[in-house]
Symmetry: C2
Subunit: 334 residues, 2 copies
């Protein structure tokens, strides 16, 4: 990305093993993330920067210290490389690994990528996947893992009513996650017919078109005046965060994964709300083994969030489609 | 309280049963809360208002619908009257009961008090308490229950390092709670020798005098660079809240019970911190049976936070002592 709105696909030098814990993978697919739109729209600084942090592919080369992944393995990894052995990783917070490396700084919208801390970061699939599984495995790398984390952070589960703020790929997969985790009722906030349809397919039982406090009021109406037990916030704006907090009953849980932009939570409102809040960059690595198995067994089909697939060379078109909301999420084939 | 800094003790009409679910209690003691200092200092509006929301005493009269408390019972209640039967109460959030009544609006810095929803609100002690147990039972009504909730919200427990922001009565009793809940290490932020001594007596293993980010840095130094697992915020200011968040390791828990004043939590900092936040007015009723038993068995002695006892008539002196920090917490004998 040369600058806001300005995406080029160009030849670069092949990545090489730098640390003995690195692996080089040949990507089977990559994709464009909702968070890539922040710099694209000028809301985050960007200047001639490699892009992409989602990836699936085949291991092409490993460093001398790599033990658990082999050349030829089909692997999925997350947007934070992590050692998976430090105290923070072992507590399930691999996105905060003491040795973490942000994959976005290396770039995975490419044919080849260097993956640091390969043993901790990469999870191999049970075998070479059928081609139709690739989009779902791709989703596991970020949007599914992030939606799943949001649902776990919101403590979605049996007997719970879950509300989901945000009908982008992460919000939609938060619905899928809440359903898998056993939620009784799932309320999706959405105004777009195509996203509403996918929300219902993933498990939403109710759709609310209202936003902000009007949306929160609607959730209260649907829940005997109390609010939802669990609310997922997958947008990152002030309105979305307050809508999430106000939609949650006292003692309930907000799981937030929208990358915060100009959000400030008033302390007195949080104090009076009595909700739990937890979120941030998802520790996708925690969930990868489970998610890969669910996809492998064809129990879930999160790849449906990709409603446009383009060859990598047409990445600029993909950014445009997501920016203009003509696509929910764009898969880039390599 | 006629206005900021202006406290009078005067004769008022005796309270009477209004609803059939009411009880009238004769107070054995009452006390002044840290939160009473906000209006006293002019930080909250106040105009000729009854004061007090903490109470222990003997049931003198009950309404026709009261079933579980009897005339003559010695009882402890919380600052929110609650039915203890609604969905919110049953989830353990009695401070948000759908029928809740704020005791501060009725006033318990008095000889007699009307307690709404007596069956749900009041917990009887196993018998008439020895006089030396009264301060501890009094503490259970608010400061102990609040400190306990903060420790539970922060998920203090075995193997955990807990840091406590705030060395007032609630913070000190948060230390006691963390100790009882099995915390391995307890770091108290304090600059006052007398409070440091009580903190150590209640179970603090480390004292940190630094505040704000310097204080958070110190906690990180003490925890291998990671931060505490659990942090209690018992102040309610911006500095205290951010100190708490910055002292917590990713995936850790902040339990906040300081009444928020002009606090705004930046969304991006919360996002990047990866902590859990939970707090608000404590559902003290959830913990009362357990706390009363611990006090009755003389396992804990939370009454030590009262370092000044005055007769009710001298309430104005008590407010002054707490305002000027010459007392941690003032017991008013009735």
């Amino acid at each position: 990305m040369y600058g806001p709105g300005d995406v080029h696909v160009e030849e670069r030098e092949d990545p090489t093993i730098v640390e003995p814990t690195d692996a080089i993978i040949r990507l089977a697919a990559t994709c464009i993330c909702g968070s890539d739109l922040w710099p694209y729209r000028g809301a985050e600084p960007v200047e001639h920067q490699v892009m992409g942090h989602e990836y699936v592919g085949v291991v092409q080369e490993i460093g001398s210290a790599v033990r658990t992944v082999k050349v030829g393995d089909f692997v999925v990894g997350s947007f934070w490389a992590s050692d998976n052995t430090c105290d923070i990783c072992r507590a399930g917070y691999q996105a905060y690994c003491v040795h973490r490396v942000l994959m976005g700084t290396l770039g995975t919208q490419s044919e080849l990528a260097r993956i640091p801390l390969a043993d901790g970061t990469l999870v191999a699939t049970p075998g070479q996947p059928d081609p139709d599984l690739i989009p779902s495995l791709m989703a596991a790398s970020d949007v599914l893992g992030t939606g799943w984390f949001a649902a776990v952070a919101a403590e979605a589960g049996p007997g719970k009513t879950v509300a989901v703020v945000g009908d982008g790929a992460v919000g939609l997969l938060g619905i899928l996650a809440a359903r898998q985790l056993g939620a009784e009722r799932i309320i999706a906030f959405s105004r777009h017919a195509d996203r509403q349809a996918l929300a219902r397919e993933f498990g939403a039982t109710d759709i609310v078109a209202e936003r902000g406090d009007a949306g929160a009021e609607k959730v209260k109406e649907l829940t005997g005046g109390l609010g939802a037990h669990s609310v997922i916030e997958a947008v990152g704006t002030q309105e979305a965060m307050m809508q999430a907090i106000h939609s949650t009953r006292p003692g309930g849980h907000v799981g937030f994964v929208g990358v915060s932009h100009d959000v400030a939570i008033p302390g007195d409102e949080l104090f009076m709300a009595g909700v739990h809040i937890h979120g941030g960059p998802a520790p996708v690595r925690r969930f990868l083994p489970e998610l890969i198995q669910l996809i492998w067994d064809r129990t879930i089909d999160p790849g449906k969030v990709f409603d446009l697939a383009l060859p990598l060379e047409q990445a600029a078109e993909g950014y445009k489609a997501m920016d203009q909301r003509t696509a929910i999420k764009v898969l880039l084939t390599v």
